[in-house]
Symmetry: C2
Subunit: 228 residues, 2 copies
């Protein structure tokens, strides 16, 4: 969302408040996938009427965080493996482009910041803290996107990340063997940026970086399912 401008409305509308409320609940896993969102209940909790809550839920539906069924209700989206795969594909596509498009505008200082974060990421491996790892990983990529000139695509990246955050605790998690490779790939990407590599080369590197994470996750899931 990247705080669209200087002056956010002084008093956010109630539908906006409802939107923020529900979204944060989803992202911090207070509402887990499958959780049923009942208009009246949420409205009562927020001290507003159902109309703004309804609007908030439909916005979240448009973003794919919530599933909605006519005359039945809404629930937090459940990403079955197929959904998950599709989301990651989309994210790899837009993330790859955003990285490549941002690279020409990066300063050496930006690269240094990214590298510092990646070092912290490598450090965090010793403590085995998936949550910290995920947060730092987002920070790293955020630096890479910072100068992306296409706000639509940045928006799509945000949405993809929001969906991942939504299932951080349940389905998605940091895959043990994968993290180290991930750090190495980050460094490789930084190298491509510093050497002014061909845009498409960088785009593919960034894309494959995410797809590799997807593959690792799927393989891990498959492995753990076979040996319960």
């Amino acid at each position: 969302m990247a705080g669209s401008a200087v002056a956010a409305t002084l008093t956010p509308s109630k539908s906006q408040r409802a939107y923020d409320f529900i979204k944060s609940r989803i992202e911090d896993s207070s509402y887990t996938p499958g959780y049923r969102l009942v208009l009246g209940a949420i409205a009562a909790e927020l001290g507003v009427s159902v109309v703004p809550v309804r609007e908030a839920i439909r916005r979240l539906e448009a973003e794919g965080l919530v599933q909605f069924e006519r005359n039945v209700g809404a629930q937090v989206a459940m990403l079955d493996p197929t959904e998950y795969q599709v989301t990651m594909q989309t994210l790899s596509l837009v993330e790859g482009w955003a990285t490549a498009a941002s690279a020409p505008h990066m300063t050496s200082d930006d690269v240094a910041r990214a590298r510092a974060i990646n070092d912290a990421l490598a450090e965090s491996l010793h403590h085995f803290d998936p949550v910290a790892f995920t947060a730092l990983n987002l920070d790293f990529h955020s630096v890479l996107f910072e100068h992306c000139p296409n706000p639509h695509i940045l928006d799509l990246v945000d949405r993809g990340w929001a969906r991942l955050r939504a299932l951080r605790e349940s389905t998605f998690s940091f895959v043990p063997g994968r993290a180290r490779d991930s750090v190495a790939e980050h460094e490789a990407i930084l190298g491509l940026i510093e050497s002014n590599a061909e845009p498409f080369e960088l785009e593919l590197a960034a894309r494959n970086h995410r797809l590799a994470t997807l593959d690792a996750f799927l393989a891990h899931q498959h492995r753990t399912r076979e040996t319960p």
Copy 2:
């Protein structure tokens, strides 16, 4: 959108009707960019209350067809040149991927259909009919996307096309010198598909095809602005 399932609800909800109504008005240019969407007026015209209309407008806002301002109202989105460029970039990205991802699943019959449409496209050049050209062009690309396995990305393609259709009559138009090249590029893309080219090669070809259209449009606009 791709009619999600067999049984669409028998009686579409009123908010859905409002959504379809407004969207079709935008796409057929009854509502031109900048047109002010007044809740009460549209509600009266449809014989419903303002609540479903409001919901429809906010859905359209999420899709980028409508611009909304708090306590002021909504209007049909106006794509300034920057917006236009950004939309086309995004479209080129997702379209390129969708084409490459769909190609492996295309039958020779699909390719033949696409080629037939492209022939009709070439034929239409003699009549200088931009509207027919645009429609056939969409048909052509639709065949290329048909087997894309990622519904999210297909959705993004749809949204991009919707924005283009919205300004067909006003800003966007078929650029005289460009159409012939476009037909040739279509044929080249079909050639790549038939020869089972590398996915990346096909993706880039499809992407550049659209970016070339963008460039031609911008150049044309620049040219006509200099000699008024």
